[in-house]
């Protein structure tokens, strides 16, 4: 489905807006590169980073009353907090994906092999009864 060209006076150029499979074709990207809508953990990391930046910068200013240095501390806090949240969230996300994959394969094996000699539940039961 084609959209009609739309003239945006703020941008000053014609923008094509198309709906493709029911989703917006142009997601919002920070600095034009980071798609915070679709990359897992990106939005949370940037938000926490912004909060950390404000807290660090403001706190430094309240303690020292030095504006430029407080801005530097704010930017440094943004980078450190964003990176920290990013790695923490991505690590947990990777663990979750592994668990989801194991669960999916377990369900598939259960469905495929139920009531056969390859049934995982039957193997565990046989193991339990033989040991008792």
């Amino acid at each position: 489905q084609c959209g009609r060209p739309r003239f945006d006076p703020w941008v000053g150029k014609i923008l094509w807006r198309r709906k493709w499979h029911g989703r917006r074709s142009i997601p919002f990207k920070l600095l034009g590169i980071l798609d915070v809508e679709n990359i897992p953990c990106a939005r949370d990391s940037v938000l926490y980073g912004s909060l950390g930046s404000v807290v660090a910068g403001l706190g430094h200013f309240l303690l020292t009353s030095r504006i430029r240095r407080s801005c530097d501390v704010g930017v440094g806090g943004f980078i450190v907090v964003t990176l920290g949240c990013w790695f923490h969230c991505r690590y947990n996300y990777a663990k979750l994906r592994i668990q989801e994959r194991l669960a999916r394969e377990g369900i598939k094996n259960k469905i495929l092999y139920e009531s056969t000699h390859l049934d995982p539940a039957r193997k565990q039961t046989n193991g339990g009864s033989s040991s008792s």
Partner: protein
């Protein structure tokens, strides 16, 4: 498949492509932070009245801007190497399909059990049915079973071509006189489109690749019908 004005990757269909997407996200976040820092430093430089024309040594900052980039590069290199070796793992393919590049079409051979081979030409724009994709549809798709590891052997009969399917994370050069191998594993059924990725003449843009991944029993029916 690709959509208009696309800037990022297509959705991943294979586990390797998922890993590549995650690595891309990881690297992009690092690039974003470095870009933010550089933009901030530029704004600082442009808004200061201070100048210093007699710097003699700057040991501390030089140490920082040597160690920090080294750490960043290690943080990028380790996942990158992990994926690189993951892509080369031996995974016991169940099926082998050969694909030969020609000017300007692909031919495919399924010779594991019977002799099945066919050519795959692009459907010209004038012959497209409503809803079909321009410059992407072919007359004979490559039908393959999903959730199965498949070995693709890629070569060429004439000039260099490249067999590429972005959503599976595949791109393998088709070199005359050489056999290149790649493995393919799709997590879900569907149609996956790709295009020749090595300049090969006037119709280089008009020799697409279409993979049709289906459950095994449909693949068996299709291969029986093609014989």
């Amino acid at each position: 498949m690709a959509y208009p004005m696309q800037l990022g990757f297509q959705d991943a269909t294979s586990p390797i492509m998922e890993e590549l997407l995650h690595f891309h996200d990881h690297t992009l976040m690092i690039v974003f932070l470095i870009s933010s820092l550089v933009l901030y430093i530029i704004s600082l430089m442009l808004t200061t009245k201070l100048t210093h024309t007699s710097t003699m040594n700057a040991q501390e900052v030089e140490t920082i801007w040597t160690i920090l980039p080294a750490i960043i590069l290690i943080l990028i290199a380790l996942p990158s190497l992990r994926i690189l070796y993951m892509m080369d793992e031996i995974n016991n393919p169940s099926l082998t399909v050969k694909t030969m590049g020609h000017q300007w079409y692909w031919s495919y051979e399924y010779t594991d059990y019977e002799d099945l081979s066919f050519d795959s030409y692009m459907i010209p724009t004038s012959e497209l049915k409503p809803g079909e994709l321009r410059l992407l549809e072919v007359d004979n798709r490559v039908v393959l079973p999903m959730e199965t590891t498949i070995r693709m052997l890629v070569s060429s009969e004439d000039v260099l071509h490249s067999w590429a399917v972005p959503s599976l994370g595949l791109k393998t050069d088709a070199i005359p006189g050489r056999l290149n191998q790649t493995t393919l594993m799709s997590s879900r059924p569907g149609l996956y489109y790709g295009q020749c990725s090595e300049i090969c003449g006037s119709n280089h843009s008009f020799m697409p690749i279409v993979l049709e991944l289906v459950p095994l029993k449909y693949f068996e029916k299709w291969s029986a019908s093609m014989l």
